[in-house]
Amino acid sequence: MNKLIVSPSPHDENYVKTSTIMLNVIIALIPALAAGCYFFGLRALLLTAVCIVSCVAFEYGCRKLMKRDNTIGDLSAVVTGLILAMNLPVTLPLWMAVIGSFVAIVIVKQLFGGIGQNFANPAITARIVLMVSFPSAMTNWVLPLWYKEGTDAVTGATPLVLDSFRGTTEEHLMPSYMDLFLGKVGGCLGETCALALLIGGLYLAARKIINLAAPVSFIGSLFLLSWISGGDPVYQILAGGVFLGAFFMATDYATTPISTKGKIVFGLGCGIITFVIRRFGSYPEGVSFSILLMNVLTPYIEQMTRTKVFGAKEAQKNEG
């Protein structure tokens, strides 16, 4: 007689797998990658490929070395590589990108236990490590559409640096809102085109992959603070890595709170820290640091924003 399988209920499942979710994130990043290629040339594609291949290779090697199950099939390493590439200037030497991948996958992700266990966002941490290690290469921006001018790549500046020209004779160098929205400005290859990132973010929200709580509170709080402090709020949210950070990194599952309340707190924190760094810090950009700092706070936010259990009597104080 054939043997019946005996297992606990439920006996059915929906067919959303970890790899399905990761695949959707990859799809959502394609518009931003395409925009990057259009504005900064085809080297963007090469850099992205190097990041993805090296991330997957590090993931494979690391799991092998640690004698653990191979996890490259869940596509999370591909996503990490893709997001890392989005955070790099298109001119970055390829070997530096490989170092970034090493930091992201080996140090930040696998040493802490692999997917879901890392406390910091791998791509963000890699960007920060590269920024601190290779400050000039990481700030070597090219002008958008330089290849159409028929000249060699010309070094440009990012809109956040140009923001200091406000009110001076060089104010005409500042990009227009439209240029900012479409991404026709200097910056990392995937962060300039707010439109493409918005499309990707909304796609993920529509597929119920991400919750818009964190992006909305992030962008919203940054907008409000810039406005209140007399800055140009539209310029502040469109310039730099706000959209990339808000939609693709402040929504990372592993490193942000689970509950909606927690996600709102997380977004608010990111908005406030970004504002403070941009306004008072010596770095022109603060998105990466804000997300990393909030990643560290996530376990505490999580503790404070637990869901209310239906009909539960007052819970005893947890001392754990």
Binding site: L4, D12, T18
Partner: protein
């Protein structure tokens, strides 16, 4: 009013238009002495005894139990030890039928004059919750606190199952009569018949039938699993919250399954105890999915053959729905009072369980607002204090968390294991 969370499942109610067919009386039945929640019964007959249809063959002193009757006439051939699908051990009576189906003289309509005699009659009928939980009905109908609302649970939120739906289509008068009976004897003012939105036909019929009766409300529940869970149906139809440690009756509510209500009415008319039941037979190994009325004690194998099932291809057999049903370890196990469905599944690919990615889907779908991902973590390190703070004791094992988990983590199972760690009060 805000409704509680639920998940959209593929309904797969393939049998909703299959009128109930009677399964012929089998040559042999096996009656486990534990088919309900509560104390198992002890056999009242010996090997070699003649039994008749409707004769009581098992009972128990405990108030929290329900007696068991024979659905066939014939001879007791064996009394054996039997392991139920839940894993507990009880006695089982095996009866060889004589095919005559002689009705026992015990079967006569009960005399009901007041609440006490009604409760006694319900106990004698052997009734227990036919929706799957098997809570003894006489206990439910005898609460210590005053009741103002009777909720009839006609959600049938599990995929595949249409047994209650067929009751609503085939015997709507019995259901309304059952509601009125319980209402009048227990002095309950209002009744609410709560039906899930995926049964428009039933909703239409009952709305028309109850149009002239202001005390019966027909409520349409959203098609979101688990609408039929007791706490969920109470909240979604009355807005009342059954708090931790409370019974529905503490909130002035009794919830009764729709088929149970109809059965109670029929029992008061005929005196025939609970010896048959309707069950849905479906699943991808079943050739002809059907709704079957079978004598309790009929073996699953015979029912599956009756529905043209390729027996050898079955990989998994589920007693009940795919979300909360029990895995059946043996094809020769019998139909019990709580068998509302029998699903034979052919292909069953078990995905590998991988690491939690903290996506939060389990938290979003839990109807009670529990955090299964956090419970999973606390269980791994056996942090009992944390498990108590996370209120794992409230989990009703609806399985929604496991269902949505992209990493295929067995969260509902973990919740049950975690519950077992909690100190008993």
């Amino acid at each position: 009013m805000k409704k509680l969370n639920g998940i959209r499942l593929r309904h797969r109610k393939n049998t909703e238009n299959c009128a109930t067919v009677d399964f012929p009386v089998p040559a042999k039945v096996k009656l486990p002495m534990s088919m309900h929640m509560g104390a198992p019964c002890l056999p009242l007959v010996k090997v070699g005894d003649e039994v008749k249809v409707g004769q009581k063959v098992g009972d128990c002193e405990s108030a929290f139990s329900a007696p068991i009757h024979s659905g066939v006439s014939g001879k007791v051939t064996a009394i054996t030890d039997y392991q139920t699908a839940m894993g507990s051990i009880c006695k089982a009576i095996e009866i060889e039928t004589d095919g005559l189906q002689t009705v026992s003289e015990e079967v006569k309509p009960p005399v009901i004059s007041d609440k006490e005699s009604f409760i006694k009659a319900v106990r004698e009928s052997g009734a227990c919750g036919l929706g799957g939980a098997g809570f003894p009905t006489h206990v439910k109908l005898n609460p210590k606190t005053p009741i103002d609302t009777l909720i009839i649970n006609a959600a049938e939120c599990e995929p595949y199952i249409t047994a209650d739906y067929r009751e609503m289509i085939e015997c709507p008068e019995d259901i309304i009569a059952g509601i009125n009976l319980v209402k009048s004897i227990l002095g309950i003012k209002n009744a609410k018949l709560a039906i899930e939105a995926n049964k428009p036909e039933a909703i239409k019929n009952f709305t028309a039938m109850a149009a002239n009766d202001p005390t019966i409300d027909i409520i349409t529940l959203p098609s979101a699993y688990p609408q039929g869970a007791e706490k969920v149906i109470i909240y979604n139809s009355t807005g009342r919250i059954v708090k931790e440690g409370e019974l529905p009756s503490d909130e002035g509510v009794i919830v009764l399954n729709v088929s149970t209500a109809a059965f109670i009415y029929r029992y008061t008319q005929t005196g025939m105890p609970l010896v048959t039941r309707r069950l849905t037979i479906d699943g991808n190994a079943v050739g002809e999915p059907k709704n079957v009325r079978a004598v309790i004690g009929t073996s699953f194998r015979e029912l599956l053959e009756f529905c043209k099932t390729d027996i050898d291809s079955i990989r998994k057999l589920i007693g009940g729905g795919p979300m909360m049903g029990m895995s059946i370890p043996d094809l020769d196990m019998p139909v019990v009072k709580t068998s509302n469905a029998l699903l034979a599944i052919k292909s069953y690919d078990e995905r590998k369980t991988t690491s939690c990615i903290r996506c939060g889907r389990c938290v979003n779908v839990c109807p009670l607002g529990l955090m299964p991902a956090e419970i999973d973590k606390a269980y791994k390190i056996r942090n009992i204090e944390e498990l108590q703070a996370l209120k794992v004791n409230l989990c009703m094992n609806c399985g929604s968390c496991t269902y949505v988990c992209p990493a295929n983590r067995k969260l509902a199972e973990t919740n049950q294991l975690a519950k077992a760690l909690l100190p008993r009060k």
